[in-house]
């Protein structure tokens, strides 16, 4: 393999797990070759006024391929991820066909090989994500799958979930749960509360999420299997996870930017761009999620990036599919809306998620000589206006259209290659 030109990220402030310091970062052949003052290289990328951080890691990305390529492809999703500062993303298995076999895992990984982001995939816990029998988890794990989830749905059967957790323990993989009791949700389309009652839209109560969180904490105790709670959205869920973590159970949790920035009041205009699962909740829930991110109960910010075509989001609220874009806005929303130190924001966006899904050896690494060069350069003061059309995604369903946010990705470096330079995708 021919030597690629060396690269220096110049004049930035380095922030990683070990702390903060000023310094240039030289990258050669996919690895960090040197960190220090006044370094030079073949190519210079300006990082002055910027933070140089490990690349971000999203543990919850819907790439829609195979099956819904009109909404997103692995390539377009990966490009959006790179623009958002991500160097690794974890695809969710609710594609068509679902990612529930070695063949589909291979297909997605193959599509990801040429993408401008390190694409990994989760596998389904059950065949067809139907919640009836276990998917061939060992077969998928042999291809490198480290996370299993039926995301889009929770595993409803208590017994099947117990078996899945027991089986997963033997494979040293993590199960990730979309917590929602289907029967209690009863076909709801938004959070059950003041707004659903007023708007005449069937609601899904917070308790539908909380019951499954409660059950899975109990099953983690029973089986000893690691469980990761996806998109936690209620104050009740947060309280249970806080207690579970305190009692030493192997539990991690993620929160999405929309659950710490938006409430169910957004649904007042019946615009399905605000329809999402779990739904936007109350202001108290938003505060609880923010509190959990602040005290570390929730250690991971995940996007739940869920592209949908304009046609489907033009359906009436109760017919439109749930989900919203997230990859290109997550970092800015975290910087704008969370009053947290930069290192804590980056922990939640980079090294914590990297470790939670078995990518800690490649991503979210310290910025030091010899480490894989997966980096992002962030201008923390740059303000910009969110526009769905300006995004790399094939879809435009951002709930933040027109919102001014602070913090923008200037460069992204993937295994030494600058895939984003000056906010522009390079491929």
């Amino acid at each position: 393999m021919p030597d690629s030109p060396s690269l220096v990220l110049k004049g930035g402030r380095i922030v990683d797990e070990s702390g903060e310091r000023d310094g240039d970062v030289v990258v050669v052949d996919g690895r960090i070759a040197a960190v220090g003052a006044d370094l030079s290289a073949d190519r210079v990328l300006d990082a002055s006024g910027c933070i140089v951080a490990p690349g971000l890691v999203d543990v919850h990305t819907h790439l829609r391929e195979p099956g819904k390529e009109e909404a997103e492809t692995v390539e377009t999703g990966a490009r959006g991820a790179a623009l958002g500062g991500y160097t690794a993303i974890l695809a969710m298995p609710n594609t068509t066909p679902p990612i529930d076999s070695a063949a589909v895992v291979q297909q997605v990984l193959e599509l990801g090989r040429t993408a401008p982001c390190d694409v990994h995939t989760s596998g389904a816990i059950t065949v067809g994500r139907a919640g009836e029998k276990l998917a061939p988890m060992a077969e998928m794990a042999a291809l490198g799958v480290r996370v299993f989830t039926d995301d889009g749905a929770g595993v409803q059967s208590n017994l099947l979930m117990r078996r899945a957790m027991e089986y997963a323990r033997g494979l040293d993989v993590v199960l990730a749960q979309h917590c929602e009791d289907d029967a209690l949700c009863g076909g709801g389309h938004m959070h059950e509360g003041e707004w659903s009652a007023r708007l005449g839209i069937a609601g899904q109560p917070a308790e539908a999420e909380e019951l499954m969180v409660m059950r899975d904490i109990a099953l983690a105790r029973l089986t000893g299997c690691r469980i990761h709670f996806q998109h936690m959205s209620t104050a009740g869920s947060v309280a249970m996870i806080r207690a579970a973590v305190a009692s030493g159970l192997p539990v991690t949790a993620e929160a999405t930017p929309h659950h710490f920035t938006l409430t169910h009041a957004e649904c007042a205009g019946y615009d399905p761009v605000f329809k999402v699962n779990p739904p936007l909740r109350t202001a108290e829930d938003v505060e609880a999620v923010k509190g959990a991110l602040a005290d570390g109960t929730i250690g991971i910010i995940a996007t739940d990036h869920a592209p949908h075509t304009a046609e489907t989001k033009e359906l009436p609220f109760d017919q439109a599919p749930p989900g919203m874009l997230g990859l290109e806005t997550a970092l800015a929303l975290a910087l704008t809306e969370l009053d947290l130190p930069i290192q804590q924001v980056l922990a939640a966006l980079s090294w914590n998620p990297a470790r939670a899904v078995g990518l800690g050896h490649l991503h979210g690494r310290p910025i030091a000589e010899g480490e894989p060069a997966n980096l992002c350069v962030i201008d923390p003061e740059a303000t910009w206006t969110v526009s769905g059309r300006a995004m790399a995604s094939r879809s435009t369903n951002t709930p933040y259209e027109g919102r001014e946010v602070r913090g923008r990705v200037r460069h992204t470096v993937l295994f030494g290659e600058p895939v984003v330079i000056g906010g522009e995708a390079q491929r």
Binding site: L199, G200, G203, E311, L315
Partner: protein, 326 residues
């Protein structure tokens, strides 16, 4: 008075009591028109109104159609089969198609709450909500107000019980909004399974004891009990519902002599209302239907016509100058 909305999507669009009273006064004029030998005025001549009914409707559709014809509007039906909805036909495409034909008003009924709101955001035409999911049915509430006003002189200080499946009822949501805006007090009477799970901010009281409520109210407004609610475990049986919340022959005598019985139709005789009760003089259900035409004339005139208040009716002059001007 606040600037009036171009649309009637929910009762709140009328801007409160003043707006509702304006509709009531206009309705008086159109009741008079409807009583003429030729019950037709040229108020909306040259205007075109499209019916966009995504959900089956006989009475509301017929009532709007009659209202439009009495105002001399041209009407057309945009036939929407339920299958095209299932195919995922975009509301936007439909709305834009109608708009391209130069339509002035669109009357929408849809099984999905908020569908008329979405359409209103996409078109320049005035949109009238003829019922959207569980959300609202504003012209029903207006005709209910008019009927109560006709029989009791007004709504101020009156106490109205709305009985039955409030949770799934667009009529209830509109009625609560309109009745309370007009100064009435509303008590909801239903089992908790048929109430919205959250009533924060609703200007109502709640009771689960119809026998206790009936002697205290001026109007008992009964909602249609839909049979499919049984399958959702919201009620044990229709029989038990009738026994606890039905307006039976025994229960109707608990009402004061001058109290009214109302129902938006279609009735399930023997379920929420006994057949004999429906036919009592105090049951003003057919008056509701009759007033529906005049109320819808008023609404269409308000949104599509000059919007000016009509002068007191002058029956001698069939051309009605004020209406011609519109």
């Amino acid at each position: 008075m606040t600037e009036r909305s171009r649309h009637l999507l929910d009762i709140e669009d009328l801007g409160g009591r003043d707006g509702i009273e304006q509709v009531m006064r206009l309705t008086d004029s159109f009741v008079e028109v409807s009583a003429r030998q030729i019950p037709k005025v040229p108020a909306l001549r040259g205007k075109t109104i499209a019916w966009l009914f995504y959900e089956d409707s006989t009475r509301t559709r017929l009532s709007f159609e009659t209202a439009a014809k009495r105002l001399s509007a041209d009407t057309m039906n945009f036939s929407v089969s339920s299958s095209s909805v299932k195919k995922g036909e975009s509301l936007l495409d439909t709305a834009k198609t109608i708009e391209a034909m130069g339509i002035d008003g669109i009357v929408v009924r849809h099984a999905s709450a908020g569908a008329p709101h979405r359409i209103a955001g996409w078109v320049d035409a005035s949109v009238v909500n003829a019922g959207d999911g569980w959300h609202q049915h504003p012209t029903q509430a207006l005709l209910d107000c008019y009927t109560i006003r006709e029989h009791l002189g007004g709504l101020e200080g009156r106490r109205i019980a709305i009985v039955g499946d409030i949770k799934h009822s667009r009529v209830a949501r509109s009625d609560i909004s309109a009745f309370t805006a007009m100064g009435a007090e509303v008590v909801l009477v239903a089992p908790p399974t048929l109430l919205p799970p959250n009533l924060d901010g609703w200007p109502v009281t709640v009771s689960h004891d119809l026998d206790a409520v009936l002697p205290t109210v001026d109007v008992a407004y009964l909602l249609r009990m839909q049979r499919e609610r049984m399958t959702e475990a919201l009620l044990p049986s229709l029989r038990e519902y009738t026994a606890t919340y039905g307006l039976t022959c025994r229960r109707v005598d608990l009402l004061r002599d001058d109290a009214l019985v109302m129902h938006p139709g279609p009735m399930n005789r023997g379920v929420e209302i006994a057949a004999e009760v429906a036919d009592l003089p105090r049951s003003v259900i057919l008056d509701q239907v009759r007033n529906g035409v005049a109320v819808r004339m008023a609404v269409l005139y308000l949104l599509l016509g000059s919007g000016a208040e009509l002068p007191p009716p002058a029956p001698a002059d069939p051309t009605d100058q004020e209406l011609v001007r519109a």
